[in-house]
Amino acid sequence: MQPGTMLKYTCPYLCNNQFAMFRKKVYLLLFLFPLLFSCRQNEAPKKTNDVIDSLQSATINEYAPRDQSPMDMSYYPLDYPVQKMNGTDSTGPVARIIYSRPHKKGRNIFGDKPESLCQYGKEWRLGANEATELELFENVNISGKNVSRGRYIVYCIPFADKWTIIFNTNLFTWGLQRDHSKDIFKVDIPVSKQIPALEDFTMVFISTPGGADLLMAWDDVKASLPIDFSK
């Protein structure tokens, strides 16, 4: 929504005395400031990627070169470490995912075209570099099946209409090869359209009644793995 449009609708009961113009300006400023901020946030991923790319090529680090697809982690409860620091955590952490974040960079991501990066029907590491690692600090239930607390690597087989999500116990491995004898859990989840399309692959926990969805989104595709922590 345009900030101006909003102002027009809200003005009738705000601008009814002699300070109307002054107030109008204050409201407009209060309005525009966060909106500008949100626009800047929208732009941020691209800028950051540019920075990452330029650093990648401009600096040499003999010890540990910086990854093109940087690692990230997401906790449930969301931002658990910050909550803990603030003293607002009520329980321990429940889940944590550690993954690397590839960028779209104008490529076709999910599909069956020859150039598609993640081919339909083929295994994908749900990230980049090391295999994606999920740690469950409690026993959980996913789609009616109990999954014990512990660490797993998680990978996916994308299709046009669903993703097959697989948990595997072969930990501390690089994401390109999997030992299928250690698959312990498999579930199909539907995919939906991600709007706006995401430049960077993203995994994040989103609270639901009784648990959390592990949201996985990249380009114009998203999928949610429902995790029930109440059982």
């Binding site: 966060p34 946030q41 990452i52 010890y63 470490p81 690089w174």
Partner: protein, 186 residues
């Protein structure tokens, strides 16, 4: 009187628009290092010669033309040894640092840098953010190690492991500073 709630509603709406984004790429991206180095890669190539011993997970700030030690990171103050979440070290077997035995498990690492030495702190409180709520009561070990100056400056903060006599070493390098913490295998 209805203006204050109206203002609040606008502000909350605007904040909602501004902050409900999915997580962006961090300015100081996260990374991990293993001992043995490149363990996950060696594992899929069937080239492992040693069992898994340690892993560090940390975020990597960049120098960006700043003076790092003594300025951005003040001497004598506890530093989270990275950025964002506190730096986590995990041992997959029992190890010994400076004659202190450490059981397998996850620990948080901090450091107190000085011009000539760093105090490395190993603390039991995991899953935390930065060093803002650092709790000295949960310290397991504090070890002083000398600072080595290096001519080639390191732009991106780096933590990694290297083979060393009797075990391995944990190394931290940033800007013109490098420190080396020997760890023995038991």
């Amino acid at each position: 009187m209805n203006r204050i709630p109206a203002l609040l509603v606008f502000f909350l709406m605007a904040c909602h628009i501004g902050f409900s984004q999915l997580p962006l790429i961090d300015k100081s991206p996260m990374d991990m290092s293993y001992y043995p180095a490149n363990y996950p890669m060696l594992k899929i190539q069937d080239k492992l010669t040693e069992p898994l011993v340690a892993r560090v997970i940390y975020s990597r700030p960049q120098k960006n033309d700043r003076v790092i030690f003594g300025d951005l990171i003040e001497y004598g103050k506890v530093w989270r040894l990275g950025a964002n979440e506190a730096t986590e070290i995990e041992f997959f077997q029992q190890v010994k640092i400076n004659n202190i035995s450490l059981k397998k498990g996850r620990y948080t690492l901090y450091s107190i840098p000085y011009p000539d030495k760093w105090t490395i702190i190993i603390n039991k409180d995991a899953d935390t953010w930065g060093s803002f709520k650092y709790d000295i009561k949960k310290d397991i070990a504090r070890i002083d190690i000398p600072v080595q100056k290096q001519p080639e400056k390191v732009e991106i903060f780096s933590l990694y492991f290297e083979k060393a006599p009797g075990g391995f070493a944990f190394i931290a390098a940033w800007d013109d500073v490098k420190v080396y913490l020997p760890i023995s295998l038991q």
